[in-house]
Symmetry: C2
Subunit: 406 residues, 2 copies
Amino acid sequence: MALVVEKYGGTSVGDANRINAVADRIVAARGRGDDLVVVVSAMSGETNRLTSLAHEVSDHPPARELDVLLSTGEQVTIALLSMALNAKGCKARSYTGTQVRIRTDSVHGKARIVDIDDARVRSVLADGYTVVVAGFQGVDEHQNITTLGRGGSDTTAVAMAAALGADECRIFSDVDGVYTADPRVVPDARRLDRITVEEMLELASSGTKVLQIRSVEFAGKYRVPLRVLSSFEEGPGTLITYEESSMEKPMISGIAYHSDEAKLTIRGVPDEPGVAYQILGPISDAHINVDIILQNVSAEDGTANVTFTVHKNDYQKALAILHETAERLGATEVVGDDKIAKVAVVGVGMRSHAGIASKMFGSLAAEGINIQMISTSEIKISVVVEDKYMELAVRTLHKAFGLDSA
Amino acid sequence: MALVVEKYGGTSVGDANRINAVADRIVAARGRGDDLVVVVSAMSGETNRLTSLAHEVSDHPPARELDVLLSTGEQVTIALLSMALNAKGCKARSYTGTQVRIRTDSVHGKARIVDIDDARVRSVLADGYTVVVAGFQGVDEHQNITTLGRGGSDTTAVAMAAALGADECRIFSDVDGVYTADPRVVPDARRLDRITVEEMLELASSGTKVLQIRSVEFAGKYRVPLRVLSSFEEGPGTLITYEESSMEKPMISGIAYHSDEAKLTIRGVPDEPGVAYQILGPISDAHINVDIILQNVSAEDGTANVTFTVHKNDYQKALAILHETAERLGATEVVGDDKIAKVAVVGVGMRSHAGIASKMFGSLAAEGINIQMISTSEIKISVVVEDKYMELAVRTLHKAFGLDSA
């Protein structure tokens, strides 16, 4: 008899029929003898509906009140799923984040879980109930309702699995696992049976939206056995692992990409200590996250050039800040480009294989795709290219690294 | 500086515009220097929407889960109203029943308030906030969410006012006070400036739906100064008082009516001790509430006849039970009639005035309205008539007692 935490996202519980389908899955799992804690999100569309209501009464709703409002979304789902389970003869009880004591800090809208009081859940499980928990929400030390931010239900599930020492945490969504590349772009993409947590993290940060990155970090920290599977089809999904077995490991696990970023460059800055901080400090002060950062020195005049990428939503704001900085530092030029895409090859196998980078660059060159920026980590090589080449680059690399035939 | 509890019902907070209008009222009251605790219901239509969702997944939703579901309705409203208030520069914070510790028993769906922890509300008020509280809901000793049943938000407001020793509890709705009769039936009906709590109770139990009867009982018990007023128009409303000043008191305060009941009669029952219990016990065991009960003895054969009224929803069930009882007791006949209406005159003045009953019966007779049953309390005389005469009876009595010209 295993203790399993299952998480169902918004589309999986989008209406009464789907809630009933989820209940059927849970009844089947109970029939196999497992104890279940089920974490659910708000029904799809509900969070947007509530957010629209908020903006009808306030241009800048206070974060505390927004959390009170949005947390009702999951509360509706836990009640409905518990009702559906009881109607099918499966004893079930629902719990809000407050009731199950998912204690968080007080950063409304993106709170972090501090602690879960697992005693209550254990006692309800021991009484033979399936425990249905509202994802995405918690309670701070002053009994204020908090939310973990969008996608936070994954984090709730992983944290619950960690607190309970669950045998497995299953994340159900509308995709049936982690793929070597987005199947919409690469028809030959294959589902991976296993992937290491590091690879998963790199894929997530490169735009493959199977799991929230925070939940993957959390799972890695507590070594929670995590499986991604489809709530609409049967299948084993993809298991996220914490140990590489390099014997069977291919060099590259997958290709990630996205086009959410824009690139900014400041040229002709005096090359002296602290220049990166002087340029990026004001960007950070404006709460703009920076992804890739490159700094090099011009061979001609010894001045520095700094290039970095930000989310497209922050592009105009970052550009304005950079123009001010350029004036202050006496830089010669500021240029920006929001027609870019990032493509990355990811794989723990590259630690032990040489030549991945040159193979990647060569394949792209053969297709006439110019590389604007390069950034590398231990298990990932990212390149920035003109956005119109994004899909071609993904398909080229998928084929070059043999992912379609492995 | 007064401490005032205000309660706004579902139609008063039915959409963003109305929520903003309520916020404007609150800002104005704050401007007059009052401290405010505001209790709100779910937006109109929301409770029905949630109930429908429940019935899509379960024919008999467990009461505990229904409370988890329905309590989200008020939670949405408190968040939105707090946002609207903050947007207008009025510091406000929202609290669910759980957060403000409205402790109830564990009877899901119709829980009773046991206790309110007023310390938290007082401390938030002292910090200069307007406190926005979810009506209709509480929490039991096991941290389960409970609801007080439909209309329970009035009870929340009165209980909160009692716990805080508030100077006044104002119930805002779509009517601007208590009338001598329903203005839709009697165009000359007048709004009463004051009414005693006993009269209010009798009017409420006779179908005048201005306030939930439980909240009036609660207000009477704790002597909470209660005022009923319109959220859509300015006006003083009606104040519910706890002392009669018989000098100024008219004999009759108002005419109440409804047609929600049906009448059942069992005839030819042996007239022996316990017969009423033998007849009404099985009805009560089936959780059917009985209103008027009449028992008398036939002059001819010395057998007893018992007549009583029940809600129309329970009519068929009660009839079936009564047929079984008749067989068991050897009664001669069971008859039922659901085409009846109840009309009542109410007034504490009748304590000190003779002749109210004969005036009532005489006026109805003059219009050719036959009286089927009569029931009296200290401050109310109710008659049952054929339902087609209901409105005529109300208008006739309103005029006969001079309510249109007082």
